[in-house]
């Protein structure tokens, strides 16, 4: 079974040379730490920077330079700053190659819910609806089940949706799955996790074809 760091580490392997990537808050943010050194990748933050660098040193901290999580950041050589309309133009116009974000629920039709729990305080969707509404390559990073042990990979989402038919890949603490023909297709098992465990933790329809390899991190 993977921890959050492990999920990020596995997702990092999906990041290809030449990709522009938008990372959501939470597990996705950790992905940047695990991207191979020998490929070129640029991170976009929707508040208006392309070419995000590491966190600043004390001396480098600049209140005018933050990421979408409001953390202080730095800019790499070749970076650029722009306004919010152009930033979402990049996203909506499908110029960003990969979007990695968290979810409360994912359904086998590719629907995703990650912004609102009725009856609870709602903070808002931020840029999530724009991202899932436009991105062609969306990886969801999440725990396979919630704290009560209930599956988060469902036949159909129960929470208010963030987007429809948009998720292409899911990496959880238990498995790597693609959405194929309206079902979850199991691709890899987390270290030490059996297909049976994954089946049990998945409420949606699961395609299991042949031997399912254990993932290599």
């Amino acid at each position: 079974m993977l921890d959050k760091k492990g999920i990020a580490q596995r997702i990092a392997k999906e990041v290809k040379d030449g990709y522009y990537v938008n990372l959501g808050i939470g597990i996705p943010t950790l992905v940047a730490n695990f991207v191979r050194d020998d490929i070129e990748v640029e991170f976009q933050s929707e508040n208006g920077i392309l070419g995000m660098g590491p966190f600043p040193t004390e001396d480098e901290v600049d209140a005018d330079l933050i990421n979408a999580g409001k953390q202080t950041i730095t800019a790499r050589p070749g970076a650029s700053f722009f306004d919010s309309a152009m930033s979402f133009g990049m996203i909506r116009g499908q110029h960003v190659d990969l979007t990695i974000l968290g979810a409360m629920e994912v359904a086998q039709d590719g629907n995703i819910a990650n912004w609102k729990i009725p009856g609870k305080m709602v903070k808002g969707m931020g840029g999530a609806m724009d991202l899932v509404g436009s991105a062609q390559n969306i990886i969801v990073a999440m725990m396979h089940t919630n704290k009560a042990g209930k599956s988060k990979l469902l036949k159909s989402c129960t929470l208010p949706l963030t987007g429809v038919k948009c998720v292409t890949k899911i990496v959880t603490n238990l498995a790597v799955l693609d959405i194929v023909d309206g079902k979850f297709k199991l691709l890899e098992r987390a270290p030490g996790v059996s297909v049976e465990e994954i089946k049990k933790a998945t409420e949606g329809d699961l395609i299991v074809e042949g031997d399912i390899p254990e993932m290599v991190l």
């Binding site: 933050s45 929707e46 508040n47 208006g48 920077i49 590491p54 966190f55 600043p56 040193t57 004390e58 001396d59 901290v61 600049d62 209140a63 005018d64 330079l65 933050i66 990421n67 979408a68 999580g69 409001k70 953390q71 202080t72 950041i73 800019a75 700053f81 722009f82 306004d83 919010s84 309309a85 930033s87 979402f88 996203i91 909506r92 629907n111 305080m121 709602v122 903070k123 808002g124 969707m125 931020g126 840029g127 999530a128 609806m129 724009d130 509404g133 436009s134 208010p160 949706l161 963030t162 987007g163 429809v164 038919k165």
Partner: protein, 232 residues
């Protein structure tokens, strides 16, 4: 040169009234119009509708207006880093209209550019799409969104000249650039007000025609919400 300078924040906010709709630039606390917000608080302007990506924190930014119950409605993409906000929202004192961040930005940009409405895929199939026209383009569903209407836009720039030309710094550009010229009156406060000709005309982010009033701000706190550092 058409001069846009006003002497101070008091003159800059001339005409501001209860019940108006304001746009306020900034992302989190980054690039917020600190001086204009202070003045709105001081004047105790009430029943405000705020179009702003976020709602500040308890003791800074729009939190200052929330604390005094000046805000009737927030139109934002992400809120609630603010206990008082949460209390007012749950109690029903505060109306909140949550919309996708890119749609928020584009509806400002549409107002700035005289585009009354546009189609976007963001929010299709969600509660954001309720009551909105839906249409497919190239087989992909979209919803129709309209330009915002606001009485004042309050923006903050790094540098500006007396002709109203603005330059922003880093990620403090965000909504400040798209809100400039998107309301009936745009009020810009700047960290450094210079003479016309001092800014390179090739690198103006917002031309002065989009700005009605510009003033030299002061006492910028520029608070950081998530100071995150690495070992040097």
């Amino acid at each position: 040169m058409i001069t846009k300078t006003v002497n101070n924040v008091t003159e800059a906010l001339d005409g501001v009234e209860d019940g108006m709709t304001f746009m306020l630039g900034g992302f989190g606390l980054c690039g917020i119009p600190e001086n204009s917000i202070s003045e709105l608080s001081k004047r105790n302007i009430k029943y405000i509708t705020c179009i702003s990506n976020n709602a500040g924190v308890d003791d800074f930014g729009l939190g200052l207006l929330l604390k005094k119950n000046q805000i009737k409605k927030m139109i934002s993409s992400y809120v609630g880093e603010n206990a008082e906000f949460e209390r007012q929202m749950l109690s029903g004192e505060l109306e909140v209209d949550l919309i996708p961040q890119g749609t928020l930005a584009e509806r400002c940009r549409a107002a700035q550019n005289g585009i009354p409405a546009f189609f976007t895929p963001a929010g299709y199939g969600t509660e954001v799409a309720e009551g909105k026209e839906e249409r497919d383009f190239d087989g992909k569903p979209h919803i129709l969104e309209e330009a915002f209407k606001a009485d004042f836009a309050f923006v903050k720039a790094w540098k500006g000249d007396k002709a109203g030309n603005l330059i922003f710094k880093g990620t403090a550009r965000n909504f400040n650039a798209v809100m400039s010229g998107a309301a009936k009156i745009t009020v810009a406060e700047v960290e450094e007000l210079v003479e016309p000709g001092e800014l390179d005309p090739n690198f103006i982010h917002i031309p002065g025609v989009f700005v009605q009033r510009i003033y030299q701000g002061d006492n910028y706190e520029k608070r950081i919400e998530q100071r995150t550092v690495r070992e040097s």
